[in-house]
């Protein structure tokens, strides 16, 4: 029985099992029996006893029913339906994204065999890409490794001391890259907060494939929260979003992309058919000596205007974010700027950098900003946070300057009405005593603590500080792992 028939049989048996409680199946194999039994176990397992709220919630809801709280609210129902409609629209524009870290490894993935030799394995295709359900490069690498010597090697071989060092990628301007590659380069006008342009380079023309390509790499210093280092692999200090723009000549053969068992999702991108691949095993890394695992990535691929675009990331970014990146691509000469949501349609958005006046209008009081922010910071966001009766504004900055010794500093500056309680967990403050300080004649409090898991990172300064003070009108705070004197200087610059 081929896999397709097996899958159909399996789904049919599962439906029968869930519907009736039993299935009239005959045993196809021991593994198949295991799968059906596993489904049965998943279905019958009862976890309600571990819920802490089961009984109290019942009681609460009954009391509210007795008080007549729940009534048919057409407005709420509209809200639920509107939410569903939005989800539908967004899902139609869903992007996947995937690419391995180094362009050289990508070239190993993509080969150009005669189409007829792979006709049996094709699961999907675009004009210049065929998707084949053979093991990915990483899966093949690991399989070859597990079979014993001779062992496969990666390029670049990071363990090889005598090998030629890989040539670092350039960071060409848009004009330089466009001139080198011979066509106008598309750039995103939107990137999620925290990403900077790490590299933009042209892949050398390959006579065997007759393609030319430009790659832009956006990077973010990896934060341990909310992304799990373990999930991403132990050797990735940075998250990446790669954008590839490839031009195929008339003589070019389609690329072949081995995707293993990764399901393909057909999507619409900028009004055109595209493909989304999620958590594809992309490139191998050595977890322990001799034990290899795969990094996983998400990919979006589509073809437009004579180019193939491929956006991939090693970060578990939500697809709404990747949609915006793809939709924002333009070949007009525009700088990358964060997108702002109009005030009339305001929703909290971590990508926002609200202007001061805009912030003041939203929050309802005058918003202030320090006149001194060290040059090695880039603003990531300024946003208004409203939670019930509490409201405050917070501006976050990230270290981002090649000329400054990297110490992975992050800084947040906040402002709120007087009396606002900064709800910090004792998890951070621990037993550290507070110290009274003076900030330009205003009473302040200083906290120090040493970060522990999950905020420990080899490139981060682990010493964090919170400086909070009040003047006659507002409460302010600075939260950062920057040096003490710089934090104080930033605070005092508010009054200069």
């Amino acid at each position: 029985m081929d896999e397709r028939a097996l899958i159909d049989q399996f789904n049919s048996d599962v439906d029968q099992l869930l519907e009736r409680g039993w299935t009239e199946r005959s045993s196809l194999s021991e593994e198949y029996d295991d799968l059906i039994e596993l489904v049965e176990t998943l279905a019958v397992s009862d976890y309600s006893e571990i819920s802490l709220i089961k009984n109290t919630l019942r009681g609460d809801l009954i009391r509210q029913i007795e008080k007549g709280k729940f009534f048919t609210s057409s407005r709420l129902q509209e809200g639920i339906e509107t939410s569903s409609e939005k989800s539908k629209r967004k899902i139609q524009l869903r992007f996947g994204y995937f690419f391995i870290l180094l362009v050289a490894i990508l070239l190993l993935v993509l080969t150009v065999p005669p189409i007829r030799s792979v006709a049996q394995e094709i699961v999907h295709f675009l004009e210049n890409m065929i998707f084949v359900n053979e093991p990915t490069f990483s899966e093949r690498f690991i399989e070859d490794w597990e079979q014993g010597p001779p062992y496969p090697t990666l390029y670049p071989n990071l363990n090889c001391l005598d090998c030629e060092e890989p040539v670092p990628m350039s960071r060409l301007t848009i004009d330089e890259a466009s001139t080198d590659v011979g066509f106008r380069v598309y750039v995103p006008t939107y990137m999620p907060s925290g990403y900077w342009l790490e590299a933009r380079d042209v892949v050398p023309y390959d006579q065997s494939t007759n393609v030319t390509e430009v790659v832009s790499i956006y990077a973010i210093q990896l934060a341990p929260e909310p992304f799990s280092l373990k999930r991403l692999g132990p050797f990735q200090p940075f998250g990446y979003i790669h954008i590839h723009q490839t031009h195929f000549s008339e003589d070019s053969q389609p690329f072949r992309f081995n995707i293993g068992e990764t399901p393909i999702v057909e999507v619409t991108v900028r009004g055109l058919p595209g493909v989304w691949l999620e958590q594809l095993p992309s490139s191998p890394y050595e977890l322990e000596p001799g034990e290899w695992e795969s990094y996983r990535s998400n990919i979006l691929i589509w073809e437009e205007g004579g180019f193939q675009f491929r956006i991939n990331t090693n970060m578990p970014l939500p697809w709404e974010t990747m949609i915006k990146v793809a939709e924002s691509l333009t070949n007009e000469d525009r700088p990358i700027v964060p997108t702002h949501t109009p005030i009339g349609d305001y929703t909290q958005d971590p990508r926002k950098i609200l202007e001061i006046e805009e912030s003041s209008n939203l929050i309802g009081f005058d918003v202030y900003s320090p006149s001194y922010i060290p040059f090695w910071y880039t603003i990531l966001s300024r946003d208004v946070i409203i939670q019930g009766s509490s409201k405050y504004i917070e501006t976050t900055y990230l270290f981002n300057n090649e000329d400054y010794p990297k110490r992975s500093a992050t800084l947040s500056f906040g402002q709120s009405p007087l009396g606002f309680n900064i709800p910090l967990s004792k998890y951070f403050l621990g037993d550290t005593p507070s110290v009274d300080v003076d900030v330009s004649g205003n009473k302040g409090v200083w906290y120090d603590w040493v970060a522990t898991e999950p905020f420990v990172h080899e490139k981060w300064n682990p010493y964090f500080h919170l400086l909070t003070w009040e003047d006659s009108d507002f409460k302010f705070w600075i939260l950062s792992n920057e040096e003490n004197d710089i934090i104080l200087r930033i605070a005092e610059s508010l009054y200069e």
Binding site: Y47, L52, L61, T396
Partner: protein, 190 residues
């Protein structure tokens, strides 16, 4: 095994009466809470979060149940469609955390379980949850929608924007992956 698609007797009547009759609501709640809780738990793999989200789901159910139309979908499909969106909203809000802002640090407060909490544990259930934690969010979603919510592939496809065929393929491969995970951990033999 009792079929998980089993419908509560007189379900439509109970649904109509639920927002006014505590006894009708109680029957619905007692039937569906274990399923909703398990559905959420399979997706988020955390008991406290599953409690929080289940609570939101039932509040929304009661707020919206007056407008439920049986001719559009079975109640179960409506309920789990709502649950699906609530959980998805939760994941979306989780992804909006920022760097070392108050929002990040505040989030840590709720993550600490009270040490005095007593948890009734079943080893197989625990191992299943652990194994589910190794799946992607999408894979967990499919398993939960199929096995707990009892939706068919067409209904799942509509909710997740996958094709019906992809749902079937992904579900099969996910169960295989789960089985291999459990086998590697010695939970099942084979």
């Amino acid at each position: 095994m009792r079929g998980s698609h089993n419908t509560l007797k007189d379900e439509l009547v109970l649904v109509k009466l639920a927002i006014n009759e505590p006894s009708a609501f109680t029957r619905l709640y007692d039937h569906y809470f274990p399923l909703v809780f398990k559905y959420v738990l399979y997706r988020v793999c955390d008991t406290q979060t599953a409690d929080d989200i289940s609570s939101k789901i039932f509040e929304r159910v009661l707020l919206g149940i007056g407008n439920y139309r049986p001719e559009k979908a079975p109640f179960r499909a409506w309920l789990f469609g709502l649950a699906h969106h609530v959980v998805s909203d939760h994941f979306r809000s989780q992804s909006k955390r920022r760097w070392f802002s108050l929002e990040v640090l505040k989030g840590l407060v709720s993550n600490d379980p009270p040490p005095e909490e007593v948890v009734i544990s079943n080893e197989m259930n625990d191992r299943l949850l652990e194994a589910l934690g190794c799946l992607t969010e999408r894979q967990r979603d499919l398993v939960a929608l199929k096995v707990v919510a009892g939706l068919n592939n067409r209904q799942i496809a509509k909710l997740t924007a996958l094709s019906e065929s992809n749902v079937g393929v992904t579900f099969y491969r996910t169960i295989r992956k789960l089985r291999n995970e459990l086998k590697e951990n010695g939970v099942i033999n084979g």
